[in-house]
Symmetry: C2
Subunit: 490 residues, 2 copies
């Protein structure tokens, strides 16, 4: 709820204008090519062969997704709202407020995606927009969503996004006032190194538990006065949809350093947000000098998106994005995890359910969380892994922590879910039990933040080895076990 900077917003609109005119096909092509080159550098620095089949088109995919995800720089609010302002009668003054004069209109629960300017990862937004019509005109409802999307499709911070949407709508509709309330969720930075040792508590479900959440608001016109009754009306209408906002919240919202990557900048500076999900800066200390080529590549991506590298919010972004990518570089992990086949006794549990070789002998470890990075889009996918296995009579059970380590080992690289599933199964099979079944359930950020935007979609994959591939009852029993534990919890 900082004061709205109208000059700044006009600047934004002009940037949109300029880019709108200069945005010819040729320029677009050269920007895309520049991003592709930068992504190749990143892949190579990660030790990947950027010519292998799965990665060959990744630079182009990433470039297109980033251009698409920042298309708001090349859109004009006026173009969108033009022709969608409709004359609509209001009531005479003194009679009341309704329709095109004073009748509050609120569009709730608009799902948006934006790119975090601190770390270049997408974040998810639930957007609620209200305005009070004046001048006996109303705007087409879908335009509230489309205008919000213009500003979401940029490198953003939640508070600035709210402010920009608010000012743009105020300028273009000229209503009595505009209110914007955003709930935003940011992917946590997984503690790859620590979680391999089983030390941290990860999001244990596929929902956004563990994500960093902030709520922000912005108001103009009659919503300028944070004590005004119209804020109460707006918040009441949100409450009908289960969105509970304390009215005193609108006096105090702040999102400084909401992005978990910000704590990497200086370990002692945690700003205003919880540090539960942020790293301890260990990687930070060694990243600065180590990956100059990668940092230069990310900087060139920002430049190709039309961003000003000197803008203060972006100064550390290339370094932070590189740190994120390096979390999925498995080289460090391989050393830590090379004890897999030595049968560490400390990770074996006593067998409480000794069986006789029947289906009853299946042991399960369910809902082990994982994070990985989609090699087709350089975007995270995350979820849970369920592992079922047969164990020999009298043998000890495999500890959850060692299974979790195997999951992380195979997750911490550029991956696809099908391969991850297979590799986890193969590792368990070769080290512990040839009869193993792995089910991976994941949300792919590329499926929800890019083109198709299938917000609720989730992907499940199965690998079945040994008896699980030959005995349908074994497979069905394990699937039923998962179902009993997780169904309706997702």
């Amino acid at each position: 709820m900082d004061a709205l900077d109208e000059a700044h917003c006009n600047g934004e609109l002009e940037i949109g204008l300029k880019l709108g005119f200069s945005e010819l096909g040729l320029e677009d092509e050269s920007e895309t090519a520049a991003i592709e080159e930068a992504v190749k550098v990143l892949l190579q620095s990660l030790g990947e062969d950027s010519t292998r089949e799965g990665l060959r088109k990744t630079p182009l995919r990433v470039a297109k997704a980033l251009r698409e995800g920042t298309r708001g720089y090349r859109q004009r609010v006026k173009d969108i709202v033009q022709g969608a302002l409709f004359p609509e009668a209001g009531l005479d003054s003194g009679v009341g407020h309704a329709g095109g004069a004073g009748g509050l209109v609120v569009v709730r629960d608009l799902d948006l995606f934006s790119y975090c300017e601190c770390c270049l990862l997408p974040f998810q937004v639930q957007c609620h927009v209200g305005y009070v019509p004046s001048g006996k005109q109303v705007v087409g409802l879908s335009k509230l969503s489309r205008v919000a999307d213009v500003f979401a499709k940029r490198l953003q911070d939640p508070q600035r996004l709210a402010n920009e949407v608010c000012v743009a709508l105020q300028n273009v509709i000229k209503p009595a006032g505009v209110a914007v309330f955003l709930q935003s969720w940011h992917i946590p930075f997984p503690e790859v190194e620590e979680s391999c040792l089983g030390l941290i508590s990860h999001p244990s479900k596929m929902d956004m538990q563990g994500w960093v959440k902030v709520s922000v608001c912005s108001g103009s016109g009659v919503f300028d006065n944070k004590n005004g009754d119209v804020w109460g009306d707006f918040l009441a209408l949100l409450k009908f949809r289960g969105v509970n906002v304390e009215k005193n919240f609108i006096h105090s919202s702040s999102t400084h350093f909401w992005c978990p990557s910000r704590s990497l900048d200086a370990p002692t500076c945690n700003g205003h947000v919880s540090t539960k999900n942020v790293s301890n800066g260990r990687i930070s200390s060694k990243t600065g000098p180590a990956y100059p080529a990668m940092i230069t590549a990310v900087a060139s991506i920002l430049h190709s998106l039309g961003e000003d590298l000197l803008r203060k919010e972006l100064v550390g972004t290339p370094n932070r994005f590189v740190q994120w990518l390096m979390k999925f570089n498995r080289s460090n992990l391989e050393m830590k995890l090379n004890g897999f086949d030595s049968g560490r006794r400390d990770v074996l549990k006593p067998n409480l359910h000794r069986g006789t070789g029947n289906v009853d002998e299946i042991q399960s470890e369910l809902n082990m969380p994982f994070w990985s990075q989609c090699e087709h889009h350089l975007l995270p996918f995350h979820g849970v892994v369920h592992i079922g296995y047969f164990h020999a009579e009298g043998a000890e059970l495999i500890g959850r922590s060692i299974l979790q380590s195997i999951v992380h080992f195979h997750g911490c690289k550029l991956q696809i879910q099908e391969r991850l599933t297979k590799q986890i199964a193969e590792t368990v099979s070769s080290v512990f039990s040839k009869d193993v079944m792995v089910v991976v359930e994941a949300n792919h950020i590329c499926m929800i933040s890019r083109g198709i935007e299938k917000l609720r979609s989730s992907t499940a994959t199965i690998a079945a080895l040994g008896q699980f591939s030959t005995n349908p009852d074994a497979k069905a029993t394990f699937l039923q076990t998962i179902s009993n534990t997780t169904a309706s919890g997702g």
Copy 2:
């Protein structure tokens, strides 16, 4: 689960091919213009002035939306999947099933929208797609969604949609098998005439209660055998997400006449679906000869979309769509409702809460359902209306049925939500109580099925007259009353 007609699907792919090549800008422009002309005829036949500001661009909007909503005719599955088939190792035969050979992959909860071929209204689809990779290759996950969308963006029936998605994926990926499970929801045809008399039970919430729902599935390859274990695996993975399907369902699914408009064809022929939400055919009997210009206009729209008017599923579609539109023609209603200001005593309730002019005197009627038709897009919007009013001391209360009649009276025409809210408030104010407040909460099909596809979005509008516009406490009290009753129920 009818046998899949591969020849038919190849035909579909060829249609896509042909249109893909012939789809030049000019042709597109002439098709759009033809639809615009037809929509103008419909507007005029509804007694509307198609040149008034709110409707001036409606023909263009409708034409664009219909072209966009049937873009699948002009898309080729091969173009979409090309370049997204990735080599991926499987396991040796005998060891098990995983990755690119035998490891089941399921993408769940894809939200799609399609147009019902029976009545030309959009219907909502929750789509689940699975396949078993073979030949050591997998397909990019988003392509499963994109291919499903190619067939959703046509005039469809749920079973045919499932079959076409299944066959197309089988042909283009050449996996061991493909399974498709769809849950579809169709808007009910509101019983406008009856509901004005308060006789029917309407969907009382904003969710899809009251909608016609069907589930269908389709399988190929290893999913051809409905008794195969792989169907069990697929359904188990859906169950993790709360989608419960009985395995014997896949032997018997059928969607004959799922569209509620089908019962309009012949009142005694209700097919296999529930008739709870379908009309009794009264309008039907007089529609046939009465609206030939409208029926011709809708037929020309189908033709402009590239459809074959002689295709048997489409023969009655123009007539059914006209009947739907005529439900929002208020002319019949005006006669029925002209008794508003005569103070019908049968609709007044005894006053159980006599008050003293304070806020306590507010009377509320909440969650009154309504249906209306968005004049910008000729698509329905629906939801609930909450009415609060002050009543004079000793006066009798306004009956819920008369308020519901007022709501329907103003809903049954081409509308916008802001105006509907104002008109309901004005009517109550002029007839019963000058101190009235109206809150309308609605889902707009145009917001969820068209371009922006904001599935969860909902719009709330307020009109406040008399004391409600001058006394913030009165307004806040009424909003709190709604909140207490509806919050978290949506």
